[in-house]
Assembly symmetry: C2
Homo-oligomer: 248 residues x 2
């Protein structure tokens, strides 16, 4: 048996997210179907975590175990010749048998991208959330920094998500402006369900002047979903990178 | 009667190009259908030029004449509420009655974008032409500069295109590298049918070592399609801007 790690890029626009579902096409299913043909046996692909319907990934990581003797580096080429063009395998390699894409992950980096102009955009529309109201960028930058550190993020989670602990450590959280584009990038040891999209929605509310940046610490401490901004739409979100302790 | 100028952005992926056709949806038809509803009369939209099936535009320009009393600046808002999200009107304004999007144009700027890596890309795949072979970027940069100046570009035109003169002046032609992305930008007083895509295809051949940069002047002088590189695919091409003498 071999344990193979895949680094995967996908445009989530046409998928009901990462995780296999009964009545909708997902990225995991596309991968498992291609791998089953390739390996000649059923294959269970483990992802570093779920991404929601419409969310994109530049660096999703997964692993699978197989008795196939295909050279590990060949999986990327073979899979890319079978998969639709909105899913690309950027790297495939053999890793130790105890590597687990989800449990071995030590952190993740997400990016949420916004276009802030009058009419939105046709080009890249599936990768940008359009906000037409004027935004106070400086306030949004200050608010983004406040997310850094170890906090109980119970309020920044879709209601009803079962989870043991809602404490997460954010290593870096920043907003960068590039003309009419805003990129919110956040790196942490883990994220609650919808956490980045709720953070992005809160930053947009700060930009609109609905919430003041300096009340963000109170909003975090209040630990209730209703004090926090709306969940920003899926299409602006990218899973950028998944981190592991060893250089795998 | 008023003459209205529109600046239009579109993702050409789902259209059979700009110009109205019998059996396929085009950007011009979408615009004319929306304007007819809006103005309550048939409207003929004149474009600065055609774009082919799959080609994109960041700054296509068009004009139309109407007896409607809708304030000129409102057309962008009204049209954007009716048009599909892959077409956006970034500006609408009244211009003198003798303004003609095609005949008044004094120049155009195009961009052709390439991703040069092993596996291509899922994100932005509809905006980038994928080239997997290693490319000599320095040779491509040198070749791009050679297109500048006034030349007879008869060889850089799809065969069978009827045109009075094949002489065109290229004001600027350059290739910029941004990691694995290559952007070929070319500005000129006019372009022959498929000219930018044939230029891009020729640059790719230079990058692959099939053509030497220093034979480009001979290839231009030979004035035959068969000496020139292949026509690069439509999806990498953007009509960036259309220029007019007056500041309209």
């Amino acid at each position: 048996m071999r344990n193979i790690k895949l680094t995967i890029e996908y445009d989530g626009s046409s998928y009901a997210g990462w995780q296999r579902q009964k009545n909708a096409m997902t990225v995991q299913q596309k991968l498992e179907e291609s791998l089953e043909k390739l390996c000649g046996e059923p294959v269970n692909v483990i992802g570093s975590g779920r991404t929601d319907s419409g969310v994109h990934a530049r660096g999703q990581v997964s692993n699978f175990k197989t008795s196939s003797t295909i050279p590990p580096e060949r999986y990327s080429y073979a899979l890319n010749s079978m998969l639709p063009s909105d899913i690309r395998i950027n790297c495939s390699k053999e890793v130790p048998m105890d590597f687990h894409a989800r449990f071995s992950a030590t952190g993740k980096k997400y990016r949420y991208s916004i276009i802030n102009n009058t009419h939105g955009t046709a080009i890249d529309r599936q990768y940008l959330h359009h906000v037409s109201s004027p935004l106070d960028i400086q306030a949004m930058k200050e608010a983004a920094k406040i997310f850094e550190g170890t906090h109980d993020y119970a309020g920044f989670m879709a209601t009803g998500s079962p989870v043991k602990s809602t404490v997460r450590t954010i290593y870096e959280s920043k907003l960068i402006q590039d003309g009419s584009l805003l990129h919110f990038t956040v790196t942490g040891n883990g994220f609650l369900y919808n956490m980045v999209r709720i953070m992005a929605g809160t930053l947009i509310d700060v930009g609109k002047g609905k919430i003041s940046a300096n009340v963000i610490p109170d909003i975090i401490a209040y630990r209730k979903r209703e004090k926090v901004g709306a969940t920003a739409p899926a299409n602006g979100l990218f899973l950028e990178e998944v981190y592991y302790d060893e250089l795998l």
